[in-house]
């Protein structure tokens, strides 16, 4: 019996026996796809015709001038179909599902972006689709629930545990262990049992490949630093992968600082002191847990970063010192979001805005000839209820109250 699927001391495949065979088959299908050049060609073709790849790299001239330091470039994953990098992974797994001959897909979702992307893929490929979403996230991201249902997916609100992403993952596994014959679990991030961390990173590597070419064309050299937010870590793995071999490029992952690392109410696994090695949800990584090994409640303004674990590949890159990890607080995120909208007319998702925070802290200290890239993992208009609420916007409130009245009187 082999011990594969490890990245340094992290990763593995801690699964119930009933899923053993399913993972053998998945591993086989994944390896076959990786060794088949036509698979990647088919993937690129799909992403350039059904989605909007390559996504642009935007030179944020106003922000660059504002900070007076490095030239800020934004990789526009928000312009992917469904508005986030999630589509890259989902469409890739969709092609794999077709090859495996399964007819139903399930997924967990936090912010709802992965759920929307999966529901979209299922509609396009003709799969049945069930999405598990923590009840708290359903409240935070109700518009995404609406779109998933409109595309024919069944959305199941998960009422267990902390009612967020980790609980949705547990519930998706519970479905999978019953229905693996027909069903593929479209894992949404670079976590979970092997081969998911590696497979998801592979599909997301399309981001970094494009960005490397674009920055050289537009700026004339590779970037000095790259910033990406880190929830599970798939957008970060997607843009970092290509640059791991480039000595001149520093990679910075930004975690959810929530109310501040010192408050304990955050989701910082790699840059804080609250996480420790653990095994849950099928893999070994740094988890936010207590001394007994019970997972803790996490907090972030962004549902997509509000997660107890992190990609085992990123835990390993952290060990190796190849990626630096920082945290951005909820308040800093709102400020960075506000500034980006005002200066550039671009609305980052709350998740992505974490990467903007750290870039804004560091850009002024850098040379104007240097370039930095922020991976804008998704668009923020999905967060309208959360953002409007956080800004305490009076005219929006009035609109909601009026709209509420028309529903309650009908």
């Amino acid at each position: 019996m082999s011990k594969k699927g490890y990245y340094g001391r992290w990763g593995g495949k801690f699964i119930p026996e009933v899923l053993h065979q399913t993972f053998e088959e998945l591993e086989k299908a994944y390896q076959a796809a990786r060794n088949d050049e036509s698979f990647w060609q088919e993937y690129l073709e799909l992403m350039s015709t059904y989605s909007c790849r390559p996504t642009p790299l935007t030179h944020a001239e106003n922000l660059s001038k504002h900070f007076g330091g490095a030239q800020i470039y934004i990789k526009r994953e928000d312009l992917n179909h469904t508005g986030a990098h999630k589509a890259n992974n989902v469409m890739g797994q969709g092609l794999l599902v077709k090859r495996m001959g399964k007819t139903r897909v399930i997924a967990e979702t936090g912010a709802g972006q992965h759920g929307v992307a999966t529901a979209t893929m299922a509609a396009k490929f003709g799969f049945e689709c069930t999405i598990y979403m923590g009840e708290e996230d359903v409240m935070r991201q109700r518009p995404n629930v609406f779109w998933m249902e409109k595309m024919g997916a069944t959305v199941v609100p998960v009422q267990d545990g902390s009612k967020t992403l980790k609980d949705a993952i547990n519930e998706a596994f519970r479905d999978w262990v019953s229905n693996m014959d027909t069903t593929h679990y479209v894992f949404g991030t670079a976590c979970g049992p092997s081969p998911f961390p590696e497979m998801v990173s592979w599909f997301q590597s399309i981001i970094g490949g494009e960005a490397a070419e674009q920055i050289v064309t537009q700026h004339g050299s590779l970037p000095k630093r790259i910033y990406a937010c880190v929830g599970g870590g798939s957008n970060a793995m997607g843009i970092f992968g290509r640059f791991l071999k480039e000595d001149q490029t520093d990679l910075v992952g930004v975690e959810a600082g929530g109310y501040g690392l010192e408050t304990g109410k955050h989701a910082a696994r790699l840059c804080g002191v609250d996480a420790s090695p653990g095994v849950a949800q099928g893999y070994k990584t740094m988890f936010l847990q207590n001394d007994d090994g019970q997972m803790r409640h996490t907090h972030s303004v962004s549902a997509g970063l509000d997660y107890v674990g992190v990609s085992p590949i990123l835990s390993d890159l952290n060990d190796q010192g190849l990626v630096r990890f920082e945290a951005a607080t909820d308040d800093e995120v709102m400020e960075a979001l506000d500034l980006t909208m005002k200066k550039e007319g671009i609305i980052p998702a709350l998740e992505s805005a974490h990467a903007f925070v750290q870039a804004f802290k560091e850009a002024p200290t850098m040379d104007t000839k240097d370039a930095i890239i922020i991976n804008m993992s998704g668009r923020g208009d999905k967060d309208i209820f959360t953002i409007a609420n956080a800004f305490d916007d009076p005219s929006w409130k009035e609109f909601i109250i009026e709209r509420g009245k028309t529903y309650s009187s009908s």
Binding site: M1, S2, K3, G12, K13, F14, I15, P16, E17, V18, L19, H20, Q21, T22, D160, G161, K166, N170, F173, R174, V177, S178, N179, M180, S276, P277, G278, V279, A280, Q281, G282, K284, F287, Q289, D291, D292, G293, Q294, M295
Partner: protein, 256 residues
Amino acid sequence: MQLEAYLKERKQQKEILLMTHIVLGYPSFDTNREVIKQMVDNGVDCIELQIPFSEPMADGPVILKANQDSISGGTTIKECLEFGAEMVRTYSIPFLYMTYFNIVFKYGEVEFISKAADSGIAGLIIPDLPPEEGDNFAEKARAQNVAPILIYAPTTSDQRMQELDKYGAGFIYCTARKGVTGKQSEFGADFFAYLARCRQATTKPLAVGFGIQSRNDVQEITGKADMAVVGSRTITLVDQEGSDKVGPFIRELLGN
């Protein structure tokens, strides 16, 4: 090994053995004590003590809720391990720990096994620890005379059953169907073909769990398996009707 020998001996006198299950600290350790007393007094052959974990991936809604309520009520691992030792001192039947790997990993694999061994715990069931993972966990447990219980599922191939058998001790836990704990199982032709495959692969006693809820279910597997495992059903019973209903329920299951 000890547990296997005990079960085989016990099986000579009974047509089927019964393993019951409780979630430690749910609804309280005091209730756990009452329930266990009733189980032992009414002829249960061994008892699975589940140490609660916040992410019980293989469990259905009943046991999931019991895990979460126990933890939010303040149950600690230390209390669970003390309770386990107390039960071993109090009763003569074997007790096993069931938990998820993170609890063991966080405690320390070696330390956890030693603690279980010192307390006289007969076996360990860790559903998310396949033998490929962990630091030679099964071997270390066997070395200390604590049986690592390996699990077969209907999706397990013949070849893998034989492979798993090499790692395990005590008995083999056969999940009656795909899915999580707590849902009714159908015992059709497929199920009996699967049990026959299990029997081919190992000489250890076969325990069947997942969805065993009634006397009828126990009768279905009598003669084909060695031990029935009842989990979620007793938790629901205690929740709804109180711990003093456990004794009559056990007697009913065993047809006594």
